[in-house]
């Protein structure tokens, strides 16, 4: 009946996770609670199936890509630190994050890292470039069977052309960042955890 309380003491390595992700202790406790709710068989980690069983995620056209982004480098499961590391990209940017200490690594929720996360959803083979083929594949996910192959190719071509500056037929991370420089990434890619 309900779950046992998620005290900070129950979360392993809570301090290092807090430093790495920037989440407050209260937020981490809530996310741990959520992690345990998703981990139906109490394995201590989440597998692909656990994430696929979230109904609202399964109907998201990019659902599978998002699930992939949690599973690092071919592994089939994600533990709590890994889980929170991905979610940290969506932490809203707060004032204390903006005065960056140049010696410390860039926080996970910086504009650059948020854009990098989105870039990786397109870049299926992780080669640092979005080829026309990869663009087509992601587009196909988002439209399903509603659009013909020809129309889709036209759209993909146009989009790659607009962003591609050095003419190599693919969109590198720099070009991606440049074409989205006006966009309020910090706001659009942020999820606020309620207190």
């Amino acid at each position: 009946m309900g779950s046992r309380s998620s005290h900070a003491a129950v979360i392993p390595d809570v301090d290092s996770i807090r430093r790495e992700t920037g989440f407050s202790q209260a937020s981490l406790i809530r996310l741990h609670h959520r992690f345990r709710a998703l981990d139906r068989n109490k394995k201590g980690y989440l597998s692909r199936i656990d994430l696929q069983q979230i109904g609202a995620l399964a109907v998201n056209p990019l659902g599978d890509r998002i699930i992939e982004s949690f599973l690092p480098n071919g592994s089939q499961q994600v533990d709590f630190p890994g889980f929170v590391r991905v979610l940290a990209h969506f932490r809203p940017v707060e004032d204390e994050d903006t005065d960056l200490d140049p010696k410390k690594p860039e926080p996970l929720n910086s504009r650059r890292n948020k854009l990098h996360y989105a870039f990786q959803l397109y870049d299926l083979d992780r080669d640092g470039k979005i080829s026309r083929h990869e663009m087509l594949q992601v587009l196909r996910l988002m439209v399903g069977v509603q659009v013909t192959e020809e129309q889709l190719e036209n759209i993909a071509d146009r989009t790659v052309q607009e962003a591609d500056e050095d003419g190599d037929g693919a969109v590198s991370f720099l070009e991606f960042t440049k074409s989205l420089e006006k966009m309020d990434v910090e706001q659009k890619m942020s999820i606020r955890i309620l207190k």
Binding site: M1, S3, Y117, A118, V143, F176, K188, I191, L194
Partner: protein, 456 residues
Amino acid sequence: MFLLLPFDSLIVNLLGISLTVLFTLLLVFIIVPAIFGVSFGIRKLYMKTLLKIFAWATLRMERGAKEKNHQLYKPYTNGIIAKDPTSLEEEIKEIRRSGSSKALDNTPELALSDIFYFCRKGMETIMDDEVTKRFSAEELESWNLLSRTNYNFQYISLRLTVLWGLGVLIRYCFLLPLRIALAFTGISLLVVGTTVVGYLPNGRFKEFMSKHVHLMCYRICVRALTAIITYHDRENRPRNGGICVANHTSPIDVIILASDGYYAMVGQVHGGLMGVIQRAMVKACPHVWFERSEVKDRHLVAKRLTEHVQDKSKLPILIFPEGTCINNTSVMMFKKGSFEIGATVYPVAIKYDPQFGDAFWNSSKYGMVTYLLRMMTSWAIVCSVWYLPPMTREGDEDAVQFANRVKSAIARQGGLVDLLWDGGLKREKVKDTFKEEQQKLYSKMIVGNHEDRSRS
């Protein structure tokens, strides 16, 4: 040991006397009122006392928390994250507008930024979704002196611990044996009573006896759980030839509804004790029991139910269209089968007050026996039942729309969240048809623009 000998007969006598007194009290205060359907008001008094104790306990904990300067309440139930209820189209347009330096009518069909919408929505569902939290018990805001609901309540002073200990003693040593005795009485009376009534010749007398045997036994079971039920709008109670639908939280729902009305039950034939009860009940009046193999055949099920409702002399059917137990904070998709039959539907909303004991049956966590034991060691089961006015399917509605209409009415009355998701999501994955809806919406956006462009 030798010292006990002279006291032996004394102890035996005392035991005998106390047991007799206990049983007489039981009979007078519980069983006789159950037979006649009256109440002494003992349970209501009990509930009021408990509320006073809980209020005191909460005050103590608040004081303790204030001393240590911490926050006491952690209301998770409203969701972990802040969400904006905007549609797919609005959000993508807004994202494009903010990102694009070009004028609106020159926007590309696909903006690289479109992905952000799906990305964020997906991440939001990973952090918090409407469905997963419906399959675990509702979390209370303040403690009700049961260790099972102690989530984050740390500021428990010595006095509270003593009170809790007292509570454990009362619940396990006094209430539990009492309740088990009552349950045993109730069930055996049901089996014996219905079998006996089964031997009577068919006629008005048999129906009368059957109705009262059923009601009496359900009322005893209600007292066995110390269920304090408030019925509202009893003039809308289901009549013969109708179907009664209600939201499902636990198997106890059946006992709660059946102790106030005379229904025909629908269900699968079980083995063991349930099977014995089922076979006995059907001797007294026609319930609809399906063999396991028949349950899969939807047409057969529909046919038998239709036959039952068309016979006006038969009792109203009791059905729980959600198909599975939900934690009583929301109502999930109603299966359309019962709404295709074409009979009058009598909706009933059941809302439990979790403060006295959470009635939700988490079937993946607890088996039936564990569940019943937990029920019998809670303080009480307090709930409200609303009988809603009857509804019939309108001419232009199909079964699904009708089901949704009934579901909304029940959710509104019970103060529950109305969800479109299927309760079956507890165990299975969602269908792909829902994904297509999102894909269609998005395609319209990008292809629609493409057509405008080629025209210009």
